[in-house]
Symmetry: C2
Subunit: 200 residues, 2 copies
DNA sequence: GTCTATAAATCGATAGAC
DNA sequence: GTCTATCGATTTATAGAC
């Protein structure tokens, strides 16, 4: 869902719809594979009218990446702040992250796969935000390791990479109309990450 | 590595280099974001000379997807055929898949993220090959479940999706010059998938 | 805030000489 | 098998009327 906190205050409603429609197109055909013509068609305006709301196509990608990162981070941190104990906080992170990511799957998908099309400073900024979030996650894992609730024979960095493998690729097969709702997806990821596939 | 079995016999050496160089560019800038001019520059020939070897840019993408799928399937099936027992075969699948995928990471990355740019029949063909491979993997999991070596409280379909989450996203962070070699990556994925992050 | 019209550049692909 | 030259279409973006 594209709710109010996904855009900065100075943006109007059309600019909001612009991001949502662009993200849906970018997810389906890629940023480079989507033309400004297709975006304006989706909004029901002419191509030139887009430039009243944004100053370039890349602006759309940049705003989508920032919104996607912000939503997931806000969702994860809210969930973690309500949990008590190292492994409970880790479970909460997976749950909050997954719910936010799947609620804005067009944004998350675009951010993760088309980020590379951003130029210079903008790419660096998005990468820095992503890295900061990954380090925050790694700290959750390290805390759980110190408490003896997560195995210590695999480095926290590598456990973090494996956790994001589980989280990120979900966007490629998740369908809102499919057999699983976001809560069930979050539970699956949590269960496999923590318990593994061999019976305990 | 781009070895001999990655191309069909009728292709010459230039056509082979063409695939390798194109896959590297596609991984870095995306299929839609890469121009035929960039591809010809990488080969040291003029843009028009490309069309002596391939009849369209999309041909390159199609051939890369087929080669990527074939390499991973061949690697995984060879490993599985040498293993004995349901869970040993599952471990072998992860190992063979990971080694082949990381040895041709430009090809795998391009196949998994830019497949969507294929048109009509070609997209269907690639999707069908991928689905067949996924079903073969799910059968390995089902066999291990029947033998009691894999938990039965999660459906084989969902365990398969989670396993491919672990396998596929690895392409986004694996670096040949990084701290982990393909064998270590395969062991990490196997260990987490089977045993989980909580100490046993 | 949307429109028509168009600029300026680049795209994939082709023709034909060598 | 590679080249020069070029076609026709399409691209992002701008100018200026309404």
């Amino acid at each position: 869902m594209a709710d109010a906190n996904m855009t900065t205050p100075e943006h109007g409603v059309t600019a909001n719809r612009l991001l949502v429609d662009a993200a849906a197109l970018f997810r389906g055909r890629g940023y480079e594979g989507t033309t400004t013509r297709e975006i304006s068609d989706a909004l029901g305006i002419k191509k030139a009218s887009l430039y009243h709301h944004v100053s370039s196509k890349e602006d759309l990608l940049y705003d989508i990446c920032l919104a996607a990162l912000n939503d997931v981070e806000v969702g994860a941190k809210a969930a973690v702040s309500e949990a008590t104990g190292p492994s409970a906080k880790l479970r909460a992170m997976v749950h909050g992250h997954t719910i936010s990511m799947l609620a804005n799957v067009d944004f998350s998908h675009t951010m993760l796969t088309d980020m590379r099309s951003l130029s210079g400073e903008r790419l660096e900024h998005v990468l820095q935000l992503r890295d900061t979030y990954e380090r925050w996650t790694e700290q959750l894992i390290r805390n759980a390791q110190k408490a003896g609730e997560i195995r210590k024979d695999i480095k926290s960095r590598q456990l973090t990479l494996l956790l994001f493998n589980l989280l990120n690729w979900t966007m490629f097969w998740y369908r809102a109309d499919g057999g699983l709702d976001p809560d069930q997806v979050a539970d699956l990821i949590t269960t496999l990450f923590l318990d593994g596939a061999i019976p305990r």
